[in-house]
Symmetry: C2
C-alpha cells in the first residue's frame, strides 16, 4: 500500500464516519493499526519511488479490451514489438558508439597536448594536465549536481530496482539518459577511475523504457503496460551490456541474474535479439572507425573489447592458484564495499545528493586524483616524458580500458614495484570516486585494480615456479576475482569476460574464480550494488525468502490500516478516500460484510473520475446501470500514467459529487489473495514470481483482514534478522 504517514483510517471511509472524523478520532484509530506508523518511518524509500505491479489485470474493463481489440491487433502489435526491440538494440549500440568515439577523441587531445608540452617544465605540464581534467570533471559534475542527480553513479542499482519492481521516478527518463551519456564521457575523460560500462547499461535501459512511450498510432496504450515496459527495459539493459563489452550472451544473462524474475524463453529470445543487434551495431562501426578494418567486415577480425588471448593454457593444479586469487578478490572486494559504505553514509550526511557542495567535492577529488596520476609514475625515477614511460608508468595516465588490455596482453614484464603502487592507489581512488557526483561505472576500475594485482602475482610466481599460464592470464583471473568480489555477479560476469576476450573455452577457470570470490565476499557483506540499494532504502525483494519465513503467518506480516472502497460509491466519497491517502491499491469490499471483492488501482480511479462523465459512468442515486469507461479511452490518455489528484478533483463539477460510480468493472477481481494462516514464504513466492504489488489477506469467510506489500515482507525479514 506504500503506506505514508498520512491519514490512517482503520475503517472504510463511509459517509457516516466521514462526517465525524476529526483529528482525535484518527489518532485513536491509529492505535488500532498494528504497524503502520512505525514502519512507514522505518523504510520510506527514495522520494516518490513507487512499487510496480505486473499481475494480470483481470478487470471486466480490461478483459473486454483484451478479448476484443487485442485479438484483432495481436499480429500488428507483435510486429511493432519486434520493430521496437530492434530499434532499442540499434539505438543502444549507437549511444555506445557515440560515447566510445567521444572518449577516444578526448584522450587523444590530452595526450597530444602533453607530448607537445614535453619540452617545457614539469610544472607547466602538471598545471595543464590537472586543469584540463578538472574542467572535464566540472562538466560531468555539473550535469549530476545541478541537472539530474540520478545520472550519478553507475545506474545499475536503479535498474536492478526497476526490474525488481520498484520504480524510482526519473531514472529512465530522457533527461537522465542525456545527462548520463554526456556526463560519462566527461567523467571518464577527466581521468577519474570510472568505467563507461555501467552508464552504458543504464543508457540502454533508458532507451528501452523510452521506446514504450513512443506513440505507435493506436498501439500506444498497450505498450505502456507495466509488463511490456519491464521487458523492454530489461532488453535495453542487456543491449547496454552487449554494446559495452561486445557480449550479447553475457548481456542477456546479466539481465536474468540482476533483475528479471520474469524471464521465460519468449522474452529471452527478444532480449537476445536486442542484445545481438546492439553488438552488431557497435562492431560494424567501431571496426572501421576505431580500428582500421574495411567497412562491412565482421567476425573474428573485429577486435574485442579487452583483446584476444592467443593461448590460455593452464595446468590443472593452477586452478588452485586461481581459486586462491578468487578468495583474495573476495577479501579485497569486501574491504572495498565496507570502505565505500562508510564513505557513502558520510557523504549522505555531509554532502547531499545535489548542489554546490557535491560539485566542489567533484573538483577536489579530481584534482587529487589527477595530481596523483601525474606524479606517482615519477616516484621511482625514470623518464618524465609520457612518450617514454614504461608500461607500468603508463597505467596511471591511460584510460582504464587501455590499461586492462596492456595488463592482459603485454609480453614485457611490468615493474613489480610500480604495479604494486598502482594497484594500491587505484583501489583507493576507485573507492573514493564511486558515489561522487559524476556518472561512474565500476566495472573497469575494479577490473583494472584486479588485473594489476593478478599480473603481479603471475609475474612473481612465474619467476619461481614453472607456470603454464602467462602473466596476462593471471591478470584476467585477478580482474575477474576483484570484480566478482565487489559486485558479487557470477554467471553473467563469467560469460561477459569470456565474450569480451573472445574465447569460449576458458570458462572453467573464470567461473571457479568468480564463485570463490563471491562466496568469500558474501561472508562479510553484500555486493556493492545491493549496499547502495540498501542505503537508498529501496524495498528490494531478494530471490528467496529467509528460511524463518516458514514460521511467520500472513496475518502477522500484513498491514491492517487499510483504505477500502465500496463497489458503488458517490464521487464525493471516492474523492475523500483518494485525497486522504497516497495508497495506490484499494481493496473493494462489500459494504455490510467486508467481504473482499477485488482490488482497484489508483490510476484507474483517477481516469474513471476524469473520463467517467463523458462516458456516462456517473449515475444519479437509484438510477439503473450506466456505461463504463472503456480501457482504450484510458490508454489513450496515457494509462498507466494518470493526472494528479488535484487535477482530477478540479476537473469535476459540483453537481457530479453526489453521483454514484460503479467501481466493479475496473477492479481486478481475480487478484491473488492469501488466508491469514498462509506462511510468509508463500506470500514471498507469490510476490516474487508473479510480480505483485498488493496481496490482500482474507479470513475464512473471505472477509478482508489486511494487505501485504513488498515493504511488509522486507520489514518482517529485517525484524526476524534482528530478533
Amino acid at each position: 500500500m506504500d503506506t505514508s504517514p498520512t491519514l490512517l483510517d482503520d475503517r472504510r471511509t463511509s459517509p457516516a464516519s466521514r462526517k465525524t472524523s476529526g483529528t482525535s478520532e484518527v489518532a485513536a484509530l491509529q492505535v488500532g493499526c498494528r504497524s503502520g506508523a512505525k514502519r512507514a518511518t522505518l523504510k520510506e524509500g527514495p522520494p516518490g519511488s513507487e512499487s510496480i505491479g505486473y499481475d494480470l489485470h483481470e478487470s471486466l474493463q480490461f478483459m473486454e479490451y483484451a478479448n476484443g481489440v487485442a485479438k484483432n491487433k495481436g499480429k500488428i502489435k507483435g510486429f511493432f514489438r519486434w520493430i521496437y526491440i530492434c530499434t532499442i538494440g540499434v539505438a543502444t549500440g549507437a549511444v555506445a558508439i557515440a560515447i566510445q568515439m567521444a572518449l577516444h577523441k578526448t584522450f587523444e587531445v590530452q595526450y597530444e597536448l602533453q607530448d607537445a608540452l614535453a619540452e617545457h617544465g614539469l610544472g607547466l605540464r602538471y598545471v595543464a594536465w590537472t586543469g584540463i581534467r578538472m574542467c572535464l570533471a566540472a562538466v560531468a559534475g555539473a550535469l549530476v549536481c545541478y541537472v539530474q542527480p540520478l545520472a550519478g553513479g553507475s545506474g545499475i542499482p536503479e535498474i536492478k530496482c526497476y526490474l525488481n519492481g520498484v520504480d524510482v521516478p526519473g531514472v529512465l527518463h530522457l533527461r537522465t539518459l542525456v545527462a548520463k551519456a554526456v556526463g560519462i564521457v566527461f567523467s571518464v575523460a577527466s581521468g577519474l577511475p570510472c568505467g563507461k560500462e555501467g552508464p552504458m547499461i543504464h543508457s540502454g535501459a533508458a532507451v528501452g523504457s523510452l521506446m514504450t512511450h513512443l506513440s505507435a498510432w493506436k498501439l500506444k496504450g498497450p505498450f505502456r503496460q507495466p509488463q511490456e515496459a519491464r521487458d523492454m527495459t530489461a532488453a535495453g539493459a542487456a543491449a547496454g551490456v552487449a554494446a559495452a563489452f561486445g557480449a550479447p550472451i553475457g548481456g542477456v544473462l546479466f539481465a536474468v541474474e540482476e533483475g528479471a524474475s520474469h524471464m521465460n524463453p519468449r522474452i529471452l529470445v527478444r532480449t537476445f535479439v536486442c542484445a545481438s543487434l546492439a553488438t552488431l551495431t557497435v562492431r560494424f562501426f567501431l571496426g572501421p572507425l576505431d580500428g582500421d578494418l574495411d567497412w562491412g567486415l565482421l567476425g573474428t577480425e573485429v577486435p574485442v573489447e579487452f583483446g584476444r588471448f592467443p593461448s590460455r593454457n593452464y595446468m590443472v593444479w593452477e586452478l588452485l592458484i586461481f581459486a586462491l586469487i578468487g578468495i583474495a578478490g573476495g577479501l579485497f572486494g569486501a574491504a572495498f564495499n565496507q570502505l565505500n559504505y562508510r564513505l557513502t553514509t558520510w557523504r549522505m550526511v555531509y554532502i547531499g545528493s545535489r548542489g554546490t557542495r557535491r560539485f566542489l567535492e567533484v573538483l577536489f577529488v579530481t584534482m587529487v586524483i589527477a595530481s596523483v596520476n601525474f606524479w606517482a609514475p615519477l616516484m621511482l625515477g625514470g623518464e618524465t616524458e609520457r612518450a617514454k614511460f614504461t608500461s607500468a608508468q603508463l597505467l596511471f595516465q591511460e584510460s582504464g580500458n587501455t590499461g586492462i588490455k596492456a595488463l592482459f596482453h603485454d609480453e614485457t614484464e611490468f615493474d613489480w614495484r610500480m604495479l604494486l603502487i598502482f594497484s594500491f592507489l587505484h583501489f583507493a581512488a576507485a573507492c573514493w570516486t564511486y558515489g561522487l557526483g559524476v556518472p561512474s561505472g565500476l566495472f573497469v576500475p575494479s577490473l583494472l585494480a584486479g588485473a594489476s594485482l593478478g599480473r603481479l602475482v603471475g609475474q612473481l610466481l612465474r619467476a619461481h615456479v614453472a607456470l603454464e599460464a602467462s602473466p596476462g592470464v593471471y591478470a584476467l583471473i585477478g580482474a575477474t576475482a576483484f570484480l566478482s568480489g565487489m559486485a558479487r555477479i557470477t554467471i553473467s560476469l563469467a560469460v561477459i569476460l569470456m565474450e569480451t576476450t573472445g574465447d569460449a573455452e576458458f570458462g572453467l577457470p573464470i567461473f571457479l574464480t568468480v564463485m570463490a570470490a563471491k562466496w568469500t565476499g558474501d561472508k562479510f557483506n553484500k555486493g556493492l550494488y545491493d549496499i547502495h540499494i540498501g542505503l537508498k532504502k529501496v524495498p528490494l525483494l531478494e530471490h528467496f525468502p529467509e528460511k524463518d519465513t516458514l514460521t511467520i503467518q500472513a496475518g502477522h506480516v500484513m498491514e491492517t490500516c487499510l483504505k477500502v472502497v465500496e463497489p458503488q460509491m458517490t464521487v464525493r466519497d471516492l474523492l475523500q478516500v483518494l485525497g486522504g491517502c497516497k495508497h495506490n491499491g484499494f481493496p473493494v469490499v462489500e459494504s455490510s460484510s467486508w467481504r473482499f471483492l477485488g482490488l482497484v488501482q489508483r490510476n484507474s480511479l483517477h481516469h474513471l473520475l476524469q473520463s467517467g462523465k463523458a462516458h456516462g459512468a456517473f449515475r444519479v442515486h437509484g438510477e439503473s446501470e450506466r456505461g463504463i469507461v472503456p480501457f482504450e479511452v484510458m490508454a489513450g490518455k496515457g494509462y498507466p500514467d494518470c493526472e494528479s489528484f488535484e487535477a482530477v478533483r478540479e476537473s469535476l463539477e459540483l453537481e457530479d459529487l453526489e453521483k454514484v460510480v460503479d467501481l466493479t468493472p475496473y477492479m481486478n477481481s481475480g487478484c491473488y489473495t492469501v488466508p491469514t494462516e498462509a506462511v510468509m514464504a508463500r506470500c514471498f513466492m507469490l510476490f516474487r514470481t508473479m510480480g505483485l504489488r498488493h496481496l490482500p489477506v482474507v479470513g475464512k469467510d473471505l472477509k478482508l483482514q489486511g494487505m501485504i506489500t513488498r515493504k511488509d515482507l522486507i520489514l518482517e525479514e529485517e525484524d526476524t534478522e534482528l530478533a
Copy 2:
C-alpha cells in the same frame, strides 16, 4: 486428479452413500460429471505417467519438521547438496568419457578390419562391413526391445516432460541409464545416423535423479523432495550437454530453455557448477586419452568437439545469405519432422514399442543403411579402398562427429555431386532411424546433414562470388540451420555451437540463422521433440497460455467429478476412497458445508494408514486428540514414494477399520485456490510458474466447486483450437 475411467463419484464417499452406492447410482452420477469420462479417454498419457507437484507443502506435519529439524541441519544439508552436485557433474563426465572411448575403439577396429581386407574383393568387404554393423545394432536393439524400451530414442523428450512436471516412470532409473549408455555405443558404432549427445543428456539427467535416491544417513528424506529431485535432474541434464559438447554455458541454457520454468539464480549457479565439473572431467581425461596432450594441461590446447576455426570472418551482406540458409534449414527441418511424424505413427500401429518385430526392424534398417553407406561412395567411380577415399566419400563411412569436423575444417574442396548425394541420403537415413528401437540422438545426424548442404552452398557460391567466409563457415551455418529447423532450440543451440567450436565471437551469425530456421519451421509444425511428446500424449504445459484463455473461466475448465475426504474419517471410509479411484490429490472439505480446507496427497495418506497405528494417530470414536505421524517417519520410509494401496490395506488389522484418523495435519492448507470466475490464463500461470499438480476451484463461500489439473488445461486449449 489424473482422472482415470474408474468409479466416478460426484459426492464424497460418506458412510451413508457408501452403503447404497451401486452400479446404477454411479452411472447416474456420471451423467452429472461434465467432462470426466470423455476426457479420460482423450488423453491418458503414457502408462503410469504421473504429474509432479512442486508446491510448498504447507501442512502442519511438514512445517513442524521444516522448522525443527531442517533448521539445525540446514548447513549440513547444504554441504551435502554441493557434494551431490559435484558428484553428478563428475559422474556424468565419466559416463560421457566411457561412451566416447568405447566408440573410438569400436570404429578403430572396424576401419582396421576394412583396411586388412582391402586386398580381398568388394563382396567379402561388404559382408564383413554389414555383418559387423548388424551385430552391433543387434546389441543396441536388444537392449531397447527386450530390456528397457525407454532407452530408445534420444531421451530429450522424456527429460523435457520430467522437468515440465510429468514423470514417465522408469525414465530416470538405473536400468534405463545402463541400457541407454551401453546401447548408444553400439547404435552409433553400427553406423546408424545417431548422435551420442542426446543419450548423454538423458544419462546425465538419470545420474542426477539417481543421486537423490542415495541415502545420506538422516538426510535421505529431504533430498527426495520433488523440488530437489527436479533441480538435481536439471543439473544432470545440463552436465550431460556440457560433457557431450564441452559446452557448460550451453548446457545450463539448454536446461533453462527446454525444461525449467523454475530457474532462479541460486539453482542456476548450482547447475553451472555441475556442468562445469562435467566439462572439466571430460577435458581432463580426453585431452591425453583421445588426443596426445600431457596429463593436466587444460585451456586452449585441449581440442574442442567440432574443432576451432582459425578465422570466421564474414562481410555484413553475408548475413543475408546466412538468413536464407536459416530459412532453408527451417523448411528442411519441417519436412523432416513431418516425415518422421508419419513414420512414427505408422510404427506405433505396426511395430509397437518393444518385442521381436521392433528388433527385426532394427536389423533391417541397419542392413539397408550399412549397405548404402558401403556402396554409395563408389557410385561415381573412383577408388574402392577406404584408405584412398576422397573426403566426400569418407563422409559415408566415418562417424558423424568426424564428418562434421571434416566439413567444417577441410581446406580441400569436396566433390559437390558426392556432397549432394550424401546430404540427401543422410537426411533420409536420419529420418528413418529416429524412432527405431535403438538409443539415438538427433544432434549429430542433423548437424551433419545441414553441414554438408551448407558446405555445398559455400563451395558453389565461392566459385562465383567473392565471399569472405570460408566454405567451412557455411557448413557451420548450414548445420545450425538444419538442427534448429528440426528441434527448434534457439539460444542454447547457438551457445552450444559457439562453445563447441571454441569461439565466442561468432554468436551473431549463428543466432540469426537459428532464429530464421525456427520461425520458418514454426510456420509448418512443432519441433521434433514436441511432436514425439505429443505422440506419447504427455500433458506438457507450454510456457504460455493461448491468447484465448482470457475468455475462459476456471469454472468451465475444472473437473467436477471429485473424490473428497473429510477432516476426520474412519479408516474404513478412507480405504474406500483410496481404493475406489486412482486420484493422487484429495480435497479435504468440511462435512456439512463442503467448504474447502486443504489438499491431501495420496502418498501422505498411504503412509498415514501404514504408520498411524504405531504413532497413535488412530483413535476410537469420541476419544480426544491423538498423536500425528511425524514427517521424519514418512521420510524414513521413502516419502514421497509409498507402498501400493493393496500393501497398505493388508497392513491394517480388522479392529483398526472403525478407528478415526485426523487428516488435517497432513493436508496442505495453504495450497493455491482460484474462484470459479478466474480466467484460465491465471490458472495456467499459476500451474506453470508454481509447478502445481492440483488447483482446487472454490465458490464465493469457499465451497469446493471442482479441481483443475494439467490435463484439464491442455484439453481446454485443444478444444479451443478445434473450435
